[in-house]
Subunit: 353 residues, 4 copies
């Protein structure tokens, strides 16, 4: 049973792993998408349930019952959003029929280099051909490749917040790509809906902490993007922090100017890169982004300032980790794949306060 | 200049007091309303500023600059949302041209009885004719009167959460209207954006408290609605509580069955009342509403349970105080006044988490 | 080895189930107790670990390593705090040596009537003799029995917040004991440190909801206390709500005056009952308690007001659920059992903000 | 009348500006200090009120009524904590009798260089002799000078969190003092109890942002401390961020090794510096501090890690901004000034959760 918004030509959508936060966020944003009809929702451990028993705020929506992946009728599906855990995703996607176009929100197909993947995930990739085929779904940067892709690896949340400001700066060589320090701060939903002590309210509220210091798996993903931009291997300093809030990533990025460059050059490069974009905005000189200014929207806001240390600048980006950092960007990629206006279904304004 | 969504026939909207939370919430929800074009925003103390300096998340929207009320060109306005403080609102509205249709979000025109108004607000009403003309904007209950109204008094947040479940129950006489206890819990935005110590983060977070015990001004508004429903004077016990969250009102309502009535009767009455409504839903027997299930949406969810004490039931409603409790209901009323589909511009799904 | 505060005569303390929130709260409050030396900490699933790996803020304390219960050397222990889950606690305590004095923070020994226990917990009690022996540890009410008890059942958090104001009122017959509605609101730590979806940050923050409506197991415990006070069976309406905060319970209690009684009578009864108490305070007429005013302390604050409905009053109490609602009251009980000043080790002031 | 803890020899304490968060935190921590008797509390705008009407959680304490500064009987006071706003503080302290010892929690006497002060505060200092006399109260670093001081400038919250790890590292020359990036994250109480829109719950919760980028007044204070340690002028990159929590500062510090130095050198330097300290702890290699592990306590926890970029390390410190970052350190300084055990009155354990 599709949602009521399906036009004749609406693509038939399946969401695999619909019981997590990225799955439910897809449901929120696709609710009024004129070209998407949700025909299948899977959640293996909760198969048989109504989605409204998993997410009570969906009780009043008319959505398909949760089923197991193996019970999906693929002949009635055009496009798949895959919101499964990394590691198992590669096996699931390898088994899907070839007529499907796939947007994968896991980490399985983000790292193009099999060796880098094996190093960071501790085992060889089990779907190497797909890994090579997958297109990296950072929309503003990879738009042309995404248009024709069958399998899109939707970027991680931290890599989205870091790369959107950094890729143009590195590409234009206005900053020293070997001296980039990224201090990132994320809301709790970035850790998913899994049951972990570190995600409990009483362990998160009224406190902050760094985690995965010098070892977070989003680091090689950021480095991959910057290395492409620099056309040589780049490493970064990246430290994620857990914040007592649901949504949002603020990336405070400390950079050194390339020889001769100034803050005006950085600003000009970013403004040129994003002038025609719908979702990325460079703020005026006296403004700095806050995550609450993008909550619930697909926006990425970027601010810049001259640092106190001469020769250095501070670049700050804000995204909603569940939207531009996950499900929103996935839909934006879908729109590109389907030749639709990129903003279709993504018009939600930020919810403030 | 107006927002880009204005069709030829779009109504030209002014928002008076656009720098508060209900004003900015109107801007969020009207952003994609096909029949509304925002042509004027006022904020007397911030006149001359761009709205984006008051609400940075609006930096990227194309909205009119803030002006003083006296500088509005009323000939270019069809409809006014008035988000001014109570007390002064009656003077402002009394001075507006008569061709305007007005949705007032203050408390000034909610109490129809001049004596009740004078008792609770400490001074006689200064626009008695308008007070008599005003229609109470609880959409589901007063829809027909709203359709033809020139001036609509949009209900208070607590009264909306309390009356939606209670008015049908009182009208159907399935509960004892003289023994109603309403324990209401609200997010902080209910207190507005004004600077008060009690709204500071450090005074609100990690704690809860009752306030305005037996003296809150929303009490006579609730009593007015229930008295109309009962066709006799009704008083209620109403205790509001401040919650460490931005949005949402949960009303836990303790009622006694009318003689012979049962929980099934209460359920049937509410289901009958709201079966065809877009925004009010009675939950199934095993579900209870939570404010997070309506956040950012115009929904009102209602749940019911038999109490432990025989002869008593518990009725719980959840709304977003800024949406169904304020700006969303105001737009719903506007849609009724303009003969539009009531859901136009109000399709936002709840934002969870 | 024991903490350094142990005097020669210090009692040797074991904490069973030290890896949960009530266990760690005992460690906080006993840290500077002059008559308590912590000699054993158990946590079966985490045995072998330092407590500092379970609670990093204890990394810098000199505390015994976590062990299994069966590995405790009981000959070196005088007194046990038992912070184990209900259901299994009765078996553990039944197996402890008889020289130990025991403060049990589980629900296992709170309900004196075996039939009531069986009804609410779904199985017969497995340690009936102990159940009869156990003394209910609501310090201010049961002080004399506690002094000589071997086994004390420390009250539940909600029952503490409800009974402290209600027991004197019921005993003095100034309220109608058959018409008591308790609307209680609790912080998340009341649900413990177990991994449940409903305790995740993203499921709790920015929202509230009722739960266990008309079915929460603290209801019969409250009824037991009020029935004793009334010397006849009493039932109550009790609805708990989950709040987006760590600590605190606010109980808003709606009562009807007994014939001839007034608010002044209620105030007088409570002031008389608690005049000489260190931890229970009746607030002046114009003040109402907030949970943030007791955070981290063993206080219970009580406020009263005349209701809008004639013949009715509103009584509000605030406690910290982990202190007066659990570990603090347990230590207060211990002090009574040991003949110490009741406030020993409980001098922590509220942490505000 | 004084609090009951005053022994014969107790110092008589006045707190100027007792109605703010640092003032009330002094009251919390001094409550059980055996050598301090609070004899005067001032709050000019609230003079005449009981402190319990300003901070309801103090309703039940026996504390002096609030008075104006000019009404203090200085002959009955030995020692003053000054919690007044910067700018006016210098005038107030200049007017105090000379027998008083003074701990100033404002920024007025922290910057020793009059030119630096004038640059950052926009006007010449008006009490230059006092500015030269004042001792900087970073206890662990300036203990000997503090012991004999009459006027102590208690350090800012950010400077405390930054200097405690950095001063020893710079002094030992194991890091490059010209390449220090400090990304600091603070709870809201750091902004005080003043009424500002940016401190409202709805503007703070569910979001984060940087502020004062490259312009915060705590930057020259950090630079002053590091310049002393390096014995040459040092500048730093310092970016503060506002967090949705009450208390806590996490400082994530990105440093470059001095030639030949390694992480082990940094660890050794810090462990040597703080081995005998009661309140500063270097965490083991696999642990990183979190602000919730120091909440309500005077602790500073420090963790270290090798960065992903070779030649770089990450140093993280956590303090409670109201305790070690303000009132706790003030009391620690007082203890040093009075020749008491430094931990007296500061034994409060962290409140977790």
């Amino acid at each position: 049973m599709a949602m009521g918004n399906g036009s004749q030509a609406a693509k038939r959508i399946a969401i695999l792993g619909a019981s997590g936060y990225t799955g439910v966020e897809l449901l929120r944003m696709l609710a009024h998408h004129p070209d998407a009809a949700i025909v299948a929702l899977t959640a293996d451990r909760q198969a048989g349930k109504e989605i409204g028993t998993v997410f009570p705020h969906l009780l009043i929506r008319d959505l398909p019952r949760l089923i197991e992946i193996r019970d999906v009728d693929w002949s009635s599906v055009d496009l798949v959003f895959c919101c499964l855990p990394h590691g198992t995703t590669q096996d699931v996607i390898a088994g899907l029929p070839k007529h499907l176009r796939i947007l994968d929100l896991s980490a399985d197909f983000r790292l193009a280099d099999p060796e880098v993947y094996a190093t960071w995930y501790g085992h060889p990739h089990r779907a190497l051909a797909l890994q090579q085929e997958a297109v990296y779904g950072l929309t503003e940067i990879e738009r042309h490749a995404i248009a024709n892709a069958r399998l899109v690896a939707v970027p991680g949340c931290y890599p989205t917040g870091a790369q959107l400001p950094l890729v143009p700066l590195v590409k234009a060589a206005v900053i020293d790509a070997d001296d980039i320090v990224i201090d990132a701060k994320s809301g709790v939903t970035g850790a998913g809906r899994g049951l972990r002590e570190s995600s409990l309210f009483a362990e998160v509220s009224e406190g902050i902490n760094a985690y995965g210091v010098a070892s977070h798996r989003h680091m090689p993903e950021i480095e991959q993007g910057l290395s492409r931009a620099a056309a040589r291997p780049i490493k970064v300093s990246f430290t994620p922090h857990l914040m007592p809030m649901n949504r949002g990533i603020l990336s405070t990025i400390y950079v050194r100017y390339a020889k001769g460059a100034t803050l005006m050059d950085l600003r000009r490069v970013l403004e040129d890169a994003y002038r025609d974009e719908s979702f990325v905005r460079v703020l005026p000189a006296d403004a700095m982004p806050a995550t609450r200014h993008v909550r619930g929207s697909n926006l990425c806001l970027i601010g810049l300032a001259q640092d106190r240390l001469s020769g250095r600048a501070i670049v700050i980006s804000a995204i909603d980790n569940l939207v531009k950092g996950a499900s929103g960007q996935a839909i934006q990629d879908m729109n590109v794949m389907l030749g639709l206006d990129e903003t279709t279904g993504l018009e939600q304004e930020p919810l403030f306060p």
